[in-house]
């Protein structure tokens, strides 16, 4: 296929930072999980009781999948990585395929290639190769991580096989979804929806009597592979078959459509603009309207679902080690309150991703020249900056409020007050704001630094566990703004960190604003 090799090397080169960073993060997670478990549970009996307590909690099984062999150290250690973190492997594959197919077509760069001596199928096939190569790289590095963390080699390789399988299926999902719409964001949203449905099928199958549902989802296959105890290699063939089917389907769909077009035609828009669409803030709200709605719905739904598991937790986590684990995450206090605090702290990090997306998009607007067009109207620099800052900061506060309110409703019947649950979410706002402010500062210094928001989210998220694992001094973990927030409702609310974080965020936002007014645009 003409141009395939060149195109693939070029794409791999363009995405080397994304692939490298993602691989490194996942490998560190694998190493940390593998290395931490042995010290966490001193005896085999401790491990069995920890595994049994996970299996007994529908919430944890829904999140991580069941532990099929409670005597297996590997299965206990890699509970989270087998299904939950594996979502990230699938997400990487989808992101890569989307990036090198639909995004290229939307930007018009694919047309540039179309005029060269390149086979029309080559871009899609090359994107599939990039997705598969990255999946293989992630899987092998993950295996090295678990082996370094002290787990058996054979199990590590089978486990890597499950990640490779999910990466290949993700490649297929990304390839099919990229054919559907002319809008890259719509394609991404459809793919994310597919992953959510697959995850949900498995969660339902694992927690209810309808175990066959788990067999409909690649995430279920990863658990059923039993990588660490009694491997069933043929399960990986399911991944492979699904991936091949999806990729063939994508190629057929691609052959039936024009370059740049979607299978689902773009609906025409209004011929005139709404009078409300008259300033930079209205524009930015319109640009993010769809994702705001989706995020709000997701926060409400996941918040209510997560909170619904809280009443059942008291009877389950009866081993000391599991309790310690929860307490470390959620602070000292009643178990249910601890669980609420732990769930909310994860939610805050996830919601920060929305912030990173909004700020990152602000950088892209400038890079593509749209900010220039807006600033050539009577829009001031301050207005343009405020439009991004308000959607990022306001959006974060809104999503945490929605999450808190939904959790308060969902935890009905638990021994935690609704007010306490809501407060747990709201106290996170200043910490998220600090990350948002730093991301804004990066964009204000240079538009190409817009990716800083994502780097900060990942860095702050990993800082705590890494500092603990590597026994770094306390101030290292303290660099993360999330670490200073009171673990409400398990602990009482400390106002000092809230005030300090808010002041810090304000100061950084003001610095960013000042910097943005002073620099060249473009």
């Amino acid at each position: 296929m003409t141009g395939l090799g060149l195109l693939t090397r070029f794409s791999l080169r363009r995405s080397r930072v994304l692939i490298g960073a993602w691989t490194a993060v996942l490998a560190v997670m694998c190493y940390a999980s593998a290395a931490a478990t042995d010290s966490l549970y001193a005896t085999a009996a401790d491990r069995v009781s920890a595994a049994e307590s996970i299996n007994a909690s529908s919430a944890l099984v829904a999140l991580y999948g069941p532990i099929l062999d409670v005597h297996s150290l590997g299965e206990l250690a890699m509970t989270k990585t087998t299904v939950t973190y594996a979502v990230l492997v699938m997400a990487l594959a989808i992101a890569l395929v989307r990036r090198h197919t639909r995004v290229e077509e939307e930007s018009g760069r694919a047309e540039l290639l179309g005029g060269l001596a390149v086979d029309p199928r080559a871009p899609l096939v090359s994107a599939v190769l990039v997705g598969a190569t990255a999946s293989l790289g992630v899987a092998l590095t993950a295996a090295l991580g678990t082996i370094a963390g002290g787990l058996p080699v054979a199990g590590s390789l089978w486990f890597a096989g499950s990640w490779l399988g999910l990466g290949l299926v993700g490649t297929g999902i990304g390839a099919v979804c990229a054919q559907l719409s002319a809008n890259a964001r719509t394609c991404g949203a459809v793919a994310a929806g597919v992953v959510a449905v697959l995850f949900g099928l498995r969660a339902l199958g694992d927690t209810t009597g309808a175990g066959w549902l788990s067999w409909l989802s690649p995430f279920g296959w990863s658990t059923q592979l039993r990588a660490w105890s009694d491997p069933r290699g043929w399960v990986l063939l399911l991944d492979l078959a699904a991936a091949v089917l999806l990729i063939v389907a994508a190629l057929v769909l691609r052959a039936r459509r024009d370059l740049g077009a979607g299978l689902v035609a773009d609906r025409p828009g209004p011929a005139t603009g709404s009078p409300r669409l008259a300033d930079a803030l209205a524009l930015n709200l319109k640009v993010h309207a769809t994702s705001l709605v989706v995020w709000t719905a997701a926060c409400a739904l996941l918040g209510a679902l997560m909170a619904a598991i809280v009443p059942g937790v008291g009877s389950v986590l009866d081993s000391d080690s599991a309790r310690q684990m929860m307490e470390r995450l959620g602070g000292v206090g009643a178990l249910q309150e601890t669980l609420v605090a732990a769930l909310v702290s994860v939610g805050a990090v996830v919601i920060t991703c929305f912030v990173a997306m909004v700020v990152g998009h602000g950088g892209a607007e400038e890079h593509d020249g749209r900010t220039e067009e807006v600033l050539a109207t009577a829009t001031s620099r301050s207005t343009s900056f405020a439009a991004v800052a308000l959607v990022a900061l306001g959006g974060a506060a809104w999503l945490l409020l929605v999450t808190g309110a939904a959790m308060a409703l969902g935890s009905f019947g638990a021994e935690v007050s609704a007010g306490g649950v809501l407060a747990a979410a709201l106290v996170q706002i200043p910490a998220v704001w600090v990350v948002a402010a730093l991301a804004l500062l990066a964009v204000a210094v240079r538009s190409t630094w817009a990716v800083a928001g994502w780097v900060l989210v990942v860095a702050f998220f990993l800082l705590g566990p890494l500092a603990e694992l590597l026994r770094l001094p306390g101030w290292v973990a303290g660099l993360s703004p999330y670490s200073h927030v009171s673990k409400v409702p398990a602990e009482s609310l400390q106002m000092t960190p809230e005030v300090v974080l808010t002041l810090l965020a304000t100061l950084v936002v003001l610095t960013a604003w000042w910097r943005y007014r002073e620099r060249d645009i473009g």
């Binding site: 773009d266 209004p270 640009v287 067009e373 829009t379």
Partner: protein, 300 residues
């Protein structure tokens, strides 16, 4: 140069790292004039416009727009102008009509001016398409319609017809002529010489970030050699010795050369003495002026 100039730039310097993009550039555009801003890619046209719009900060020199400081008073000054960038980027999920109205409202201009419908008609734009569905030419049309859909004191157009077909270029020329008649000032950056020659009252040619020629086309022509071709009856006169004559060639009774303005009287006298059968003298085209400006020794 007068105080009433809409655009007045003196000694403008802008550097990007080690690159000196603008090197003591001068540019002045009077009220109501269509000013052609000429130069090849990379000469600094877009950089000048972006300084003029307050998007880039100048390193040295003086820049006035409507007598104000384009950096400090950008938003207020932009109420009086409309801008069409060379490469128009649109929002993927906004229709062309939405973008046009948004630009108009952001400028503080009415979105329901009768010109809006007229321009959409004239440029044959489908305003219901989403941003991602437009071709380069159509994206350009969206920005052009937004610029022409309501009155403005100044139009800043950065290579506005790149991507337009010849029919649309014609429509664009009509628009400029109409707005000029209405008193609008136009800064038209371009490397399409015929377009500028037809539309512009005055022209500035820039090269390596510096204005190398500026003035009305007539003035500039006066400063440059005319092409003279004559067929004589008698003996061919020796024009080689006449000051200001270049590129002399003789083919039988036909003599042709290029002549600097001050050499013309002497050439005509010599030709008349020899007895002229036919005589053509053509002023330099803008293309020749342009090539002339670029043929000189490197500036600086």
């Amino acid at each position: 140069m007068s105080e009433s100039d809409v655009i007045r730039i003196r000694g403008l310097v802008k550097t990007f790292g080690p690159t000196r993009a603008l090197d003591r550039l001068d540019l002045s555009v009077g009220g109501g004039e269509v000013h052609g801003f000429l130069g090849p890619n990379g000469a600094g046209k877009s950089t000048t416009i972006r300084v003029l719009l307050g998007l880039l900060r100048k390193d040295a020199g003086e820049v006035r727009l409507f007598g104000g400081d384009p950096w400090a008073e950008a938003a207020a000054l932009h109420r009086r102008l409309a801008y069409v960038p060379g490469d128009v980027s649109l929002w993927p999920n906004l229709s062309g009509g939405e973008v046009i109205d948004m630009f108009l409202r952001m400028r503080g201009a009415p979105a329901n001016h009768p010109w809006r419908a007229e321009m959409i008609e004239r440029f044959q734009l489908d305003p219901t398409k989403k941003g991602r569905a437009y071709s380069k030419g159509n994206r350009q049309k969206v920005a052009l319609v937004a610029a022409f859909a309501a009155p403005a004191d100044l139009l800043i157009l950065d290579e506005p017809t790149s991507g337009l077909d010849p029919l649309m270029e014609e429509g664009f020329a009509d628009c400029i002529a109409e707005r000029k008649a209405g008193g609008t000032t136009v800064l038209l950056s371009s490397h399409i010489l015929s377009e500028v020659e037809r539309l512009a009252d005055r022209v500035t040619i820039i090269r390596e970030g510096r204005a190398v020629e500026s003035g009305s086309l007539d003035e500039m022509r006066h400063l440059h050699r005319s092409k003279v071709r004559a067929e004589v009856v008698g003996a061919v006169p020796d024009l080689g010795g006449v000051p200001g004559v270049h590129d002399l060639s003789v083919d039988g009774a036909v003599v042709s050369c290029t002549v600097e303005p001050e050499g013309l009287p002497a050439v005509l006298t010599a030709l008349t003495a020899a007895g002229v059968r036919t005589l053509t003298s053509s002023p330099p085209s803008l293309e020749e002026l342009f090539l002339d400006a670029y043929r000189k020794d490197p500036v600086g």
